[in-house]
């Protein structure tokens, strides 16, 4: 196997892991709150700008600063759900097609992106962290260090989330709400509080991905859009609301993008991903792997 091939496989796996992790927040919010969060990409952008400014202003290690960024974004998500989404959710509780929420999150998307445009201008910014441009050499294969770190931290965070959901009482309440909100509420679960927490978790996860991108990706107000499309495709590929589905879907997209490009023009790989996405939508709308929503 040629060096370029090996490098493209590694790169595909690393990017794929990050893509999958990126889709996790979306799938979590959909699985529990049953809200399609169109502002997902904007929250990635918010996470990126938070990470960027943290680095520029404090020069704390970008990975260490996650310990502060995560609670900040959790609070943001919690309040967005509590203040903005909850009232609409309540008023639409009996509506069969709750469109209001979709319009709300889409509005949030436009609002956040344009707010960033207003505050920071349209320019691209790159954070010169100690990890930026750092490479590992394994034999003759070059591996991007910040991508590898992002991949590992993504995996670890997913593990923590998994334990939180499976092993704690809070996790049980969250899963119960995801499975059946009426019954959960009959069992004494304050479902609106669980919604707040879930949305907060989702936004925090999304923000983490943003912050993980900062050492190797330029930051600009519309950056979320690029990843947003990927995240939505991955979530549908893997099955809406499924955690392993999102991770596997991410890996598949990452590999197609990276390895596929070695056999065809780069423009085509983007198209190929969409073709697979449409096929899955048509043939297996429950997701490629048929994972049940295992909340």
């Amino acid at each position: 196997m040629s060096v370029a091939m090996k490098e493209s496989i590694f790169n595909g796996l690393l990017m794929g892991g990050v893509y999958g992790f990126m889709a996790l927040g979306l799938t979590l919010i959909f699985g529990i709150v049953k809200v399609i969060n169109f502002a997902h990409g904007s929250f990635i952008m918010v996470g990126m700008f938070t990470g960027y400014w943290f680095w520029v202003l404090t020069h704390i290690d970008p990975y260490l600063s996650l310990l502060i960024i995560v609670p900040l974004l959790f609070l943001l998500g919690y309040q967005v759900q509590n203040v903005l989404i909850k009232p609409v959710l309540k008023s639409e509780a009996e509506v069969r097609e709750p469109i209001g929420i979709l319009v709300l999150t889409a509005g949030l998307w436009l609002f956040l992106d344009n707010l960033a445009l207003l505050l920071f201008g349209p320019n691209f910014r790159t954070a010169e962290t100690p990890y930026t441009g750092q490479m590992f050499k394994a034999g003759d294969v070059l591996i991007s260090a910040p991508k590898l770190y992002a991949f590992l931290i993504s995996l670890a965070t997913t593990g923590i989330l998994y334990i939180l959901l499976k092993k704690t009482l809070l996790g049980k309440a969250i899963r119960a709400t995801g499975q059946n909100r009426q019954v959960a509420s009959l069992m004494g679960v304050d479902i609106y509080k669980i919604y707040n927490i879930s949305f907060g978790l989702g936004v925090a996860l999304t923000g983490v991905t943003g912050a993980l991108l900062v050492p190797f990706y330029p930051v600009y107000p519309n950056v979320g859009f690029v990843f947003d499309i990927r995240a939505f495709m991955i979530v549908v590929l893997g099955g809406l609301g499924s955690i392993p589905g999102a991770l596997l879907g991410g890996l598949i997209v990452g590999l197609i993008e990276s390895v596929g490009a070695q056999f065809m023009a780069t423009s085509w790989t983007a198209g190929l991903i969409f073709v697979i996405f449409l096929l899955v939508l048509y043939l297996r709308p429950e997701g490629m792997f048929g994972f049940k929503e295992e909340w």
Binding site: A4, F38, M135, R230, T266
Partner: protein, 432 residues
Amino acid sequence: MKRISVIAVLLLIFLVQCALCSGCAPSEKKEAEKKEEKPAAEKVEEVRVGILLPFTGAVAIIGEHNWKGHELAAKEINEAGGIKSLGGAKLKLIKADSCSDPKVGMTECEKLIVENKVVTIMGAYQSAVTYPTTAVAEKYKIPYIVPVAVKDDITDRGFKYTFRLAAKASWWARDQLKFMMWLAEQSGVQPETIAFVYENTDWGKSTRDGWLKWMKDLGLDQKLKIVLDEPYPADAPDMTPVILKLKEAKPDIVFLVSYTGDAIKLSNTMAEMKFDCMALIGNGAGHMDPVFVESCGKNADYTFSVAEFAPDSDDPLVLKVRAAFEKEYGYPMPEPSVNGYACTYILADALERCGSTDPEKIRNALAETHITEGPATVVPFDIIEFGPDGQSIHSSLVGVQVQNGQFKTVWPPGVAPAGNKPIFPIPKWEER
């Protein structure tokens, strides 16, 4: 089935949102310009000129740069006593927002002509907007001066009222090749292979066609082997796959067509993956954006590009104009402002010569333009003249290299400041 329909609805909404997002806010209200235009008398108060540019949308910042070039020139002209053959009439620029959208552009163009009664239009930066809006102006027989928009077809349709100062897209491709030939010649190192890496929309693809055509015309198709022909989506999150292909193909020369974001990602990834070659030659835009150099830092060093404007020119006129711009707006004059500035002076020159606000007479005066001195020659070529198709015949580009984070003009020898030397072949990553 329910799931499918939910997903379908979602997708639909998503698409609508995409459309909304890339659309724009309603264009700003023109200042209430309801005064009746007096019939074209010898003495006129003001000459109304429409400036159609993208003031909102993705390239709003470039629209703004363009506008400031026009505004600065108009201010200078008016302060120097306006158009003398019209009794000191002032230039009045009227803003119109194309929203980066061809359809909006056409409506705005029509409004400028019918409601604002402009006698000339200038704009519209983007080829996609300029192409249909010049047709609107042609219909109304209103002269349309194009400072920046490179699509060849704009002046290839035999229009009588369209005049373009910018070089055509295929000329950009030509000058990339000429620049490369000059680099090879003066260094004595002959490249044998070349790779094309370009963004995959109209601009990138037409430039690639230009490379192929000019390689034949310049007799390079036998000497240079094309080892990679790679269109890429400018919004791809990860450029590593493209760079890996370059590493496999091992070209001596890489020609690029990139916007800012992708130029940054490409250069950073090249540095990471240690891709070495003799030269990277960009096609302006992203590779001439100060943000590119700022963002890539050392990784941008040694990158070549062709450009419309020598950023470090030591020509006294250029220095004067740049100083005036920086004084007025507080930042260095960016590339798109220069042509806007020059075009406003070209119009003033035509008005001066015809002494009338009749669009037909202005058109005829523009067609006879022959400017060899004055502020309009801030552009890097000496004579401004329009061919029968309205294309400025002498438009040509300069070659620039990033050296220590600064754009240095190195080509052609007559334009490049003394002391600027190209570094070719560029050093390998290991040696930097």
